[in-house]
Symmetry: none
Subunit: 399 residues, 2 copies
Amino acid sequence: MPDVIGNLLEPNEKKIVLLVMDGLGGLPREAGGKTELESARTPNLDALAVGAECGLHLPIGYGITPGSAPGHLALFGYTPTDYPIGRGVVAALGIDFPMRAGDVAVRMNFATADAEGKITDRRAGRIPTEKCAELCGLLAGVKIPGVEISVRPVKDYRAVVVFRGQGLSDQVRDTDPQATGVKPPAPKPASEKGKRTAEVAGEFIRQALGILAKQKPANAVLMRGFAELPHIPSMKELFGLKPLALAVYPDYKGVSRLVGMEVAHDLRDLDHQAEVLKSSWDRHDFFFLHHKYTDSRGEDGDFAAKVAEIEKVDAFLPKITALKPDVLIVTGDHSTPAVLKAHSSHPIPFLIHGRHVRPDAVREFGERACLGGTWGVIPGAMLMRLALAYADKLAKYGA
Amino acid sequence: MPDVIGNLLEPNEKKIVLLVMDGLGGLPREAGGKTELESARTPNLDALAVGAECGLHLPIGYGITPGSAPGHLALFGYTPTDYPIGRGVVAALGIDFPMRAGDVAVRMNFATADAEGKITDRRAGRIPTEKCAELCGLLAGVKIPGVEISVRPVKDYRAVVVFRGQGLSDQVRDTDPQATGVKPPAPKPASEKGKRTAEVAGEFIRQALGILAKQKPANAVLMRGFAELPHIPSMKELFGLKPLALAVYPDYKGVSRLVGMEVAHDLRDLDHQAEVLKSSWDRHDFFFLHHKYTDSRGEDGDFAAKVAEIEKVDAFLPKITALKPDVLIVTGDHSTPAVLKAHSSHPIPFLIHGRHVRPDAVREFGERACLGGTWGVIPGAMLMRLALAYADKLAKYGA
């Protein structure tokens, strides 16, 4: 109901901080055991929970495992299913590529193929970003009449290609076979609208393979997530906020930009994020702080390392609370249990702290502790509502 | 969001078992007392709850008492209000009657009337099914030009009539007065569309009363639930499942068939259901096991007998868990508190067990214990989502 909110907005200078530990939610390693968050020693988070309202949230819905982009959209106050975002767009925005309406972006991975063209390594031995940039430079040699083509490095073996021209569409299927030992399929239209784009992508790949033929190990390319820019109203329009994103990883900057956030550049780590948070404090009223490595260690299946990342964020917390934000939310964008080595559909614990919250009985920040909190399990997009309310940014509804 | 789910389906061979104790939810007999489920000795269910996610569900909505068909539709993953199903259709499908689009089915109960036509027993002394079948045979003598009429026995005094012909409709009111000492009303159209069908049904009843005049005690008929076949997408279409229904009672086979389940025939009791479950294990990935008598004893108002039925199911549980289903849900389709002798709107406890669930603090399976579980009170149709997720049958949403 963005319209209901829209009529109630009363912008003010009060500060909201959203601290996201990516993939925060977890699972116990063994029957009867604790999750990563429950295992972590988190004195600062626990102290915060005592004065907070707690609960768990579902970014998309029951049983749905969120990707990173929709998981964050929910935290930014958007119902993710109203705004589908393709992988290509997330990648392009993440590297600050100025996409326009009608452009088609697609994530491209450099890969290794054998003499027959069968894929032997879908990540080309994880070539470094510098090598990726060099190869992207070579691919500037691909020419297709009527289409402007941009090839940009992202990170390691990951790149993004943006096609600009008349009559392009995102209706094209992936060429990444998601397996080795097979030839990647040619790009195929997913509907009639995608025919020309599939031909363009096919020609791009043909020329690219020629250019890369002598390269080792990156002599092939795989494409995933053909996507057009969706129209998403900004956080300013929807919530009257002046938001700033403080993220290290490209994809999270991308999704922040998509909702009209200003994005801080070249952040290195939590300490650097805290510094910029402090120096930007007066110019914004919403701050999104993102920590990636909880998710990374979950994806690695490294339970102890994920616990350590949570403890690192806990130790960092005083740098945020010292600024006395009016509202502080701590949560994740999805669960990434180390035992699953992947995103999962489990609800994610959250706490919302501020002068106007009604503290509940939760005494520690953890999945099961939060079940005993105020909110039970709620849609992720509702957290923004609570934040706006407790920052006195919403007027009364009705007389 | 069936469409969202539709795009995420990743069918696999993992097994989901849905064990339904009909009318499971209950109420205490006296202030401060326990419900039927809380009173029952259920060591197996309690052990399962320890490793499960628990909660309660509402099949239709707050304050709405579910009939059996919508209650089950919810458990099968359908929002019941999207798919209204008439009683006649449930009855016809329950006995395997091959209904066609445009047919109108109606449940017919044999009853006893006095000399003036006033109903003295709405169930004709609960005549046995054999007698019911004999009477249905006699009613084959009813002839109405332009209408093909089928009369089939269901169980005891219950039968079903299907009218086939041009211009028929389900827009006809019941003739069952739901009381004794009164004459049943003639079938009346519920809207202009139902006029012809009301006339047909009226003529059917007139001829039937003539044929049954000398019968004792079944000398009258009452009609309930005129219904046409709804279009419901199958569980295969919606969820990619190969489901099997293991139910003893006809109505539950009927609603299973409506969602495209394969239905096991001639099942006698729980042990027989377990046998067929085992022998069908490799050919299906979703198994619906139905136990009727928890509801029956609730309807009887027999608290202790309902407790005994719950304990019987608990003792039977190891026959299911021995097969190691990937996901096991135990719940009911609605509440039938013995103190009310009827279905009620109270939420129904559930547990969902499997390798990927995040166990909560619930230590016993009961209405109030489940309130402390993960899910609070959720829509019944969401259980299917959780089952699909925990059986790894749903891909990630978005990049």
